[in-house]
């Protein structure tokens, strides 16, 4: 992981936010991610698609070192955030995760008030100097999460009392509140009904203005709707990566074509 790799391979430091080279992930004996090279651009929504168990979620969790919490997981290769190797010994995952936030498959609001849910990240990272600044951050984040109007009158109510879609938008707002540069989303709509899904998708598109968004999804329609770039994973390999329109209309790899046309997956 510490071997030197020529940095010329990073094409353009201005637009490339995260660049992964030769990434391998092992869970115990299982080789889950094989040799993945990919560049993720800033202010872009990148969708990871692929059949279940193809490794797209595992790869996503590598990007902010969430895999560290799993004892048997080993990651090899380089993942660079703004040109810095996030698996370097000197990198503190806590600091990394402040820059690379994450939203999970199932909405997981903390058993606290809505306000405290949002304020949690800013508090631990010391983003607000006083109460009014914190209030400002909370309001801004809830507005960005497109949920402000629904909860502004009950900020002291527990976050667990919201509906599923509201909970997920709360979790997105919570992730946004820490002001990350990259936002990772692991199937954020899989537990939501179609209306809530539409709301979250709309939100993702707005978030692109300020963040790089990486979204793992099962649904190809969703990938087509929200993303500019798409990466197709299959059996641990990154099969194809490119413009979303390109991938869906004119896939280069036969495996991608089979998946899109519904023959595998």
């Amino acid at each position: 992981m510490n071997d030197m790799r020529p940095l010329e391979r990073i094409v353009d430091t201005d637009t490339v936010k995260i660049s992964a080279r030769n990434v391998q992930v092992h869970y115990g004996e299982t080789h889950a991610i094989k040799d993945v090279d990919v560049d993720l651009e800033a202010n872009t929504v990148t969708a990871f698609i692929g059949p279940s168990g193809c490794g797209k979620s595992s790869f996503l969790r590598c990007l902010n070192r969430m895999n560290d919490t799993i004892d048997i997981c080993r990651v090899q290769g380089d993942i660079l955030l703004d040109g810095e190797d996030i698996y370097d010994k000197r990198v503190d995952p806590v600091q990394l995760r402040a820059k690379v936030g994450m939203v999970f498959q199932k909405p997981n609001p903390f058993p606290k008030s809505i306000y405290d849910n949002i304020a949690y990240g800013p508090r631990i990272h010391g983003l607000a100097r006083n109460k009014s600044e914190l209030d400002e951050i909370v309001e801004k984040s809830l507005r960005r999460g497109a949920i402000w109007d629904e909860v502004k009158d009950r900020l002291d109510a527990p976050g667990t009392g919201l509906s599923g879609g509201q909970q997920q938008r709360l979790c997105i707002a919570r992730a946004v509140a820490t002001e990350p540069e990259v936002l990772l989303m692991d199937e954020p709509c899989s537990a939501l009904d179609p209306i809530a899904t539409a709301q979250v998708e709309e939100l993702i598109d707005e978030l692109r203005q300020n963040f790089s968004v990486v979204i793992v999804t099962h649904s190809m329609q969703q990938a087509a709707r929200v993303s500019q770039k798409t990466a197709f994973f299959h059996l641990g390999h990154l099969v194809e990566h490119g413009e979303t329109g390109e991938i869906f209309t004119n896939p280069r790899d036969p495996r991608t074509e089979s998946y899109i046309t519904g023959r595998i997956g």
């Binding site: 040109g83 806590v94 820490t178």
Partner: protein, 455 residues
Amino acid sequence: MTDASANTPATPRPGKHAGSLLEQNARTLRRNAAERRFRAYGLSAIVIGVTALVVLLASILSQGLPAFQQTFITLEVHLDEAKLDKNGNRDIEEIKKVSTFGYAPLIKTALSTRAGELGISSEDLGVSDKEIAAMISKEAAAELRRFVIANPDRIGETVEFEFLATGRIDGYYKGRVTMESAEKDSNISPGQLQFADALKEGGALSTHFNWGFFTMADGSENRPEAAGIGVAMLGSLYMMIIVLVLALPIGVAASIYLEEFAPKNWFTDLIEVNISNLAAVPSIVFGILGLAIFINYAGLPQSAPIVGGLVLTLMTLPTIIIATRASLKSVPPSIRDAALGVGASRMQSVFHHVLPLAMPGILTGTIIGLAQALGETAPLMLIGMVAFVREFPAAPPEGFFDPASALPVQVYNWTTRADPAFVERASGAIIVLLAFLLCMNFLAIILRRRFERRW
């Protein structure tokens, strides 16, 4: 990527988290220090817990192990016919008329003789004849009398005996008594200790394993050397038998009803609440129950294993019921369905199929319940088991109604006595108790490992 930062444009974007990832900012350093402190608290909590266990066991072991050793004085006693059987007709009734006071002089003579043979001079050591006689336990005369009554035909012979030395002499060889402490002690003098040393050199006095600790009954206040846990172990055994015979069937029957047949209504709810509450009621309250109901109301005798057994049964029932229900619950419904499917009644499906499968879990729970009951002290004190009991209870079932002691109560009893030799014995008895508990828990673990099923 050691020089990666050199190739990166510094802070490319004015974000909230500006700065290189490769350097931990001040806040992160602070937070990581807090993290390490928190971890250290957790680890020290565990260390404290484990240390407490180690210190507890070490202190009990170090204080209690000497109880298994005892100092004995070996003497050849001439069973003088003139004193023990004046008429010489070996009539057992006449021999019985000679009390222990008649035997004491024989032992005294034997000891003086032995000392003479070894060339120990009592004048040089400044010990009186009375003090020499006091070196042997008062129990010795009783022991000799029992021997003679059991073997009247040996009167007139010279027989070798191993007598208990008195508790202070024993303490001298275990470090409890020293020459200095003997100066101030009215029960022992330095002269007696020197005399004992001389006996030891001559081979007449030795310290070795003490079977009597396991077989003898409690000893009175001034003869700790003769105190044993025989009656207490028997009493505990009787109580465990009663608990096993009552609590296991009742507990299993109650669990089967609650788990397999009971409808969901206020009555079964009431039973459930009662069971979980009884599991947490202070044990002393069960003692009050035993005293009020079994002794004062039903008129059962005090200090009897039957009352202790009944009280402990009521205390153990919740444990057994909770374990049994968990065990019944873990038998998958498909087993019941299979039995019902071939035309068995519900009762048959439970008794023929579910119960045998749940048996290992039930037995494990029962053993753990018994182990709890074995160590229980407070309720037994209230039903009179602290009494001083010298007589062994008879064989069951009559023995269940005889006065007896119990191991933990015997321990408490000994700690309240003045002579420090009793504290040593209390610790010794605790070791025996812990050994029993260890065996029971070990058995439970083996049962669980051996028969555990995963569905």
